[in-house]
Amino acid sequence: MGVIEVEGLRKEYRRLRGGRTLAVDGLDLEVPEGGVFGFLGPNGAGKTTTIRCLLGLVRPSAGRVRLLGAEVPRGLASVIGRVGSIVEQPALFPRFSGRRNLEILARLSGASGGDVTRALERVSLADRAKDPVKTYSLGMKQRLGIAAALLKDPAILVLDEPANGLDPAGIVEVRELIRSLGAEGRTVFVSSHILTEVQQTADRVAILARGRSVKSGPVAEVLAAGGARGLVVRVADHVAAQRALADAGLPVQLAEDVGGHVLKVEATPEDGERITRILAERGLYLSELRADTVDLETVFLELTKDEGLGA
């Protein structure tokens, strides 16, 4: 049983001038306990709406949501104390200091002043704790939001686009924080449309397109769904090399990358030695031989191609 379970979730928003917008369309999702779970999808895919449904902020039109085994929204109150979250931007009072914002929330959970101090230290904001939140950078606000979520000592942490608007240094900071939280045994549920970012932090992912999950599972498994890629070979005379490899019975295709023409050979890494020998026997010396890896972005674009969202 997952700590987050979503079955057939559907959410329609009514427009003011009539008509409806379908934000989530029969979503199924199961998030196992522990580690970082990436919830991926382009803008408008339904990630934030799903998160709002998880947290009881939005009522689903249909389907079931369970958080730590409790039905949402009916049983949410019984588990909310173990669920930390940031939905979109951390929404805090801009004129209050960072510390005062946390103190207000701490009173809700019964956390002490010491807990507030520790949470601020955890996100490296202790030095700026007395400053008004309106003077914080976006990255600091994100970290303050995470500090607020940590006040509950949560079993699940739900973070909606935590890297949004951050500069590279801020992204690295938040990434490290997420990794360390996941390593502590908490379940960190991170939504993002920055796929490379999630690839570096998540253990498992679900890819969402038009309100539906198109693929989910361990990152390696999802990457494999992008197809067996084989090996990339770069050689000066790519025409002769292509002929030589084809003559040796290896499926080979000519392709281009930023460095010019390359050959993509359908082969396993163990075939590297054989490829080197075949080419050398023909007097062709390769300048590059590497595994043709895929990233989540490529997989995502392939998986969502049929949805009309791909490139």
């Binding site: 709002r52 947290l55 009522r59 939905v87 805090l92 929330l105």
Partner: protein
């Protein structure tokens, strides 16, 4: 529930608007009282003798029946006899011709300043919920306490408490300054001034809380401070104004008439409309506020937080 209350109270009392309004109101009161005290003077012995003569003459006229009130009507007005009527309606302070601060005038001035305090309550009531929507922190709060009914009711309680304490603080400061002004350059012409003032202060506090709750309900419905304030002011100025113009008999059911009737402790009834007592006026206000809160609660409970 206690944790939520403590958190909401801390949030409310941390707001700059609350401190700003209180400081501005206290400063305004202090300036007004300094001006009033400077312009006031204590009566001379001659003034006091003249006032006493006029009082005795008028009291005698009343006791002689010159006011032309039929004996049967006295009972309807709540007086056992003519003497009680005259004691209540002909008082020494009515004949003090000296301009300035008088203890006997305090409760009347407190009644006159009640609308200002009600306005303050409206702004506070709307702001304490509206600010959360504009900052987006309502979503944050609901991810800590998802039971919306509980959040709504605790907030209503906090609004009531903050408004009541703010009004009591300002009224206490006003009464203290008035008393000081009287001691320095005024006329201590009443022995019941304190109990009279406390009565008005409590009534004003109750009405301020009710109007604060109206504004709170309006802000919860519109999810904005401005929305809460404008809904209530629109009702008071436009709807009640228009309704009174079209059908004067409806005045008995308006918020303004009932609030005035309760704060003044005079009841309401005139122009052929059904009379009402201060207690009935209070009940009417409480019922209206209850209905407004119920509508806002139903709305809060059902509507998505996006």
């Amino acid at each position: 529930m206690i944790r939520l209350f403590r958190s909401e109270l801390l949030r409310a009392t941390s707001r700059r608007l609350l401190r700003f309004l209180l400081i501005a109101a206290l400063a305004g009161t202090a300036v007004a009282m300094v001006i009033a005290t400077v312009n006031s003077r204590q009566p001379t012995a001659e003034d006091a003798q003249r006032a006493e003569r006029m009082y005795q003459r008028e009291l005698q006229r009343c006791l002689d029946g010159d006011y032309g009130i039929p004996p049967g009507q006295l009972e309807d007005m709540g007086y056992p006899d003519l003497e009680a009527f005259c004691d209540d309606n002909v008082r020494p302070e009515f004949f003090t011709s000296v301009q300035g601060l008088r203890l006997s005038g305090l409760s009347e001035v407190l009644q006159g300043t009640a609308p200002i305090l009600v306005m303050l309550a409206i702004v506070l009531g709307a702001s304490l919920v509206g600010a959360d929507w504009s900052a987006g922190s309502m979503a944050t709060l609901l991810t800590w306490e998802p039971r919306r009914v509980r959040v709504f009711l605790v907030r209503a309680l906090v609004v009531s408490l903050v408004v009541l304490l703010a009004v009591l603080l300002l009224e206490a400061a006003f009464v203290g300054m008035w008393r000081l002004g009287v001691a320095l350059r005024g006329t201590a012409d009443s022995t019941t001034w304190f109990s009279d003032a406390v009565d008005v202060v409590v009534r004003t506090g109750v009405v301020a809380v009710i109007f604060g709750l109206f504004a709170y309900a309006g802000a919860a419905l519109t999810r904005s401070t401005a929305g809460g304030v404008f809904i209530l002011l629109g009702e008071l100025v436009l709807i009640e104004g228009v309704l009174r113009g079209l059908r004067p008999s409806i005045e008995r059911w308006t918020l303004i008439a009932n609030a005035t009737a309760y704060v003044s402790d005079q009841g309401y009834g005139g122009d052929g409309t059904a009379p009402t007592t201060p207690t009935a006026a209070l009940v009417t206000l409480v019922v209206y506020a209850g209905l407004a809160l119920l509508v806002a609660l139903a709305f809060t409970q059902r509507r998505d937080v996006t």
